[in-house]
């Protein structure tokens, strides 16, 4: 059974997969930081740390860039 955060995160990652990798990773990060509750982001980190193989590789890269505390003002997530 895939974790909800993994399922939802994979859905996001698939939308940005067409972009160059760095841009795709940044887009996923921005989306997660703009719209996701920090507890869900922490859950994603835990899944990645546990080596959950259900995570999309792009999502795994994005999880590594997630910040603990989002310092930004409003951001927009452009696919």
């Amino acid at each position: 059974m895939i974790a909800p955060e993994a399922r939802l995160g994979n859905d996001i990652a698939r939308q940005f997969a067409h972009l160059p990798e760095d841009q795709a990773v940044e887009s996923v990060v921005r989306h997660l930081e703009t719209f996701w509750d920090p507890r869900m982001r922490r859950a994603l980190r835990a899944l990645a740390a546990a080596g959950d193989d259900a995570l999309d590789p792009l999502l795994v890269l994005a999880i590594r860039r997630l910040r603990d505390r989002v310092p930004h003002q409003e951001t927009e997530a452009h696919p």
Partner: protein
Amino acid sequence: MTLTPEKDYGTPPVATTDRATVTIDGHEVTVPAGTSVLRAALEAGVEIPKLCATDSLNAFGSCRMCLVEIDGAKGVPASCTTPCADGMVVATGTEQVRRLRRQVMELYLSEHPEDCDGCARGNCEMQGLARTVDAAEVRYGRPHTREEVAHPAPIDLSNPYFGFDPAACIVCSRCVRACSDIQGTFALTVEGRGLDSAISAGGTEFLSSECVSCGACVQACPTSALQEKSVVDLGMPTRSVETTCAYCGVGCSFRAEVSGEGDDTRVVRMVPSKSGGANEGHSCVKGRFAYGYAAHRDRQLHPMVRDSIDDEWRVVSWEEAIDKVATGFRALQAKHGVGAIGGISSSRCTNEEVYVVQRLVRAAFGNNNIDTCARVCHSPTGYGLKQTFGTSAGTQDFRSVDQTDVILLIGANPTDAHPVFASRMKRRLREGAQLIVADPRRIDLVRSPHVEAALHLPLQPGSNVAFVNAMAHVIVTEGLHDEAFMRERCEDVDAYLAFIADPGNSPEATAEVTGLDPAQLRAAARLYAGAPSASIYYGLGVTEHSQGSTMVMGMANLAMVTGNIGREGVGVNPLRGQNNVQGSCDMGSFPHEFPGYRHVSMDDVRAVYENLWGRPLDPEPGLRIPNMFDSALAGMFRGLYVQGEDIAQSDPNTQHVAAALRAMDLVVVQDLFLNETARFAHVFLPGTSFLEKDGTFTNAERRINRVRPVFPSKVGMDEWEVTCAIGRAMGYPMHYDSAAQIMDEIAATTPTFAGVSFARLDEHGSMQWPVNDQAPFGTPTMHVGEFVRGKGHLVQTVFVPTTERTNRRFPLILTTGRILTQYNVGAQTRRTSNNLWHPEDVLEIHPSDAEVRGISTGDLVDLASRVGSTTLRALVSERMPPGVVYTTFHHPVTGANVVTTENSDWATNCPEYKVTAVQVGVANARGDEAAEEARAPLESRS
């Protein structure tokens, strides 16, 4: 005939800048050229008698009451059909016209029974007009009773809401014209000739006819031959209250005509307001007639509590109920953390009620776990239009459709879900505009009386983005795009052009996915791009997909590529499902946004609310509804305040929702009825119907409209007062003197609402936001000259197929929708006579799919997906394409959402209701049991 008729000019206004000056009974008046003499006379202060004329209909010239004399002209023309010419001199009260009017009226009265109920009630225009024209005597005799008229016919009482008495009818054709010209259904006609002529609902009784019970004919009838049964039962109303409908996102204005005062107030009828900006005097069967739920015996009028969801409810005082809520929520936060509780606001509540709920969550709960039912319908609209245009709302007013040349209708069924706007759309189509329908199902607008779509594209569910990209591909590769507009108004132009021109986006390359004939799609693209003004209207068939947000952006691309944005007749227009979806989103109901769509991380915005509300606010987004469910099942989310929303019925994957609700320690439901969600609740707080509310709704065109209380709250408190009381009981000071004061706070803190107040709305009528110094009376058309975000953003909308796929086990795709007479989860309409038309949800299935399964219309069938199954009756229908089945979700017993999955829009988590892989088969014995349960009365079910 209504209680306090709005001024009726007899014929519609003429839109032209040319002017004509005429003299009528010595009064000089200048009017738009082409204006009827009848209308010009009233504008000059001269009222000409009329019967068949009304300003909502084009002139007909049949009643011969509005005769006038014109200098230099022969005879006595009907003023309703005579246009003003410059210099014309008109006399309306000469002895000749007075005599003729008296004689005509005598003829009418000679066929009008003296025992006419309408005359007795004072509800017959003809009676008053007879006095006006001095027709005191009838030389030809007059029938004493309705049985004595020349051609007596039985009264038709088949419709649950109105009756038709042919004996009182003068065959003025106002009803026929209202049905055709306003409603666009063409259900009524005049049969026979001369004295034998009679109004007919297509040769059958009203209930069996094509009539959609919009009531336009009843409102148009000058004699009460067509009469609301409620008027017969309750007598004529004595006063009226102007308010706003609580059904769909059209947001029609109504005058609630009532009798009695205070708690004894009874609604006699609802009359749509001509001055209503959204509906301009029209209505549908729900808004006009289906208001009885507000006084239904199922209404729960007292707070109730229980310790466990297996216990019986116990009626308690407001104080005890609110204390249980506050104590329980605080205890859960103490044990499980500040984020362990949250709230859900409702699109059926007012802006003021919704605003207060989000304040409660953000300031008193101390988190951003606030979400709203827009999550499951139009959240992708908010996301997609903000990303591309800069604001989360449609671009036009409804009136804009009057100027359009081509309508691209995607994933919407306006004649069922937004019927008043559909009538307006049909009128424009009859005037010559062209229609493209992109929908798997052959909706009524594909072909109905005097309306036929130029193209119907029955695309496969789940292929919207491939479709919209193919449309843009054709436009760009065939050079039909407006490059000058794109260069001036948009950004990322070159990247987008390169993306969309890729052969992978062509109609031919995407045909396997969309299921569309490439030639048809190319024709649609050429038609849309070639129109002087083309508009897009869409519904949940766009948003409720795993790529709902991408599709919204794809449609925005299409508008920008063709320059169809920023003026009348164009735009991207969401048809919102519920009356206040737009408003509930505007009011900061999303967990990442404050009111006005400003992100919670914006320090300056947060500071405004922190200063005002006196609490530090969380700068991080909170949980969305589906996240709350997942978190509940993980044991971290323990308490929920649900205002006016039935998540156990409306949200997808019912088993998952039920399990999440069961996992919570404290579920608080505030509603009119003990709905499905209340089965999992520990506290029930009675809510108020729209007839008790004081506030505002904001409709799909951003129109902020007043909702005024018709009678006092039946539960003793307004809903916003209850919300504030919860906050105070939790130790957070939260108080407003009135709903108007809440709106004042909204206006003071939300730039797009800066100029809004109850006083201004009461004085000037409804307004479309933004309402501010630059647009003190609102903004009908957005993005004129410049997008809200500056440059429009052309997004590369890559098609990513849904993960929900058919296979051998689940070979069909289920898609869901609405029907005209029911609304959403049916909590309101199922408690009215609307059930007569739609007593149960049915499964529409194509004949070929039915045949291979041995299914006939009326059979009980099992509908199963990978998450659940349910039983309902089949309707074999060629409206469906092969491979796709369809049902509605108006009846809880059907449990359509038992089979829908947790798949959702990637950006907003709006559920993918429109794509569920299913299997259908003839039901076994379980089906009989389900059918028996379906037939049981509502109150006997738990």
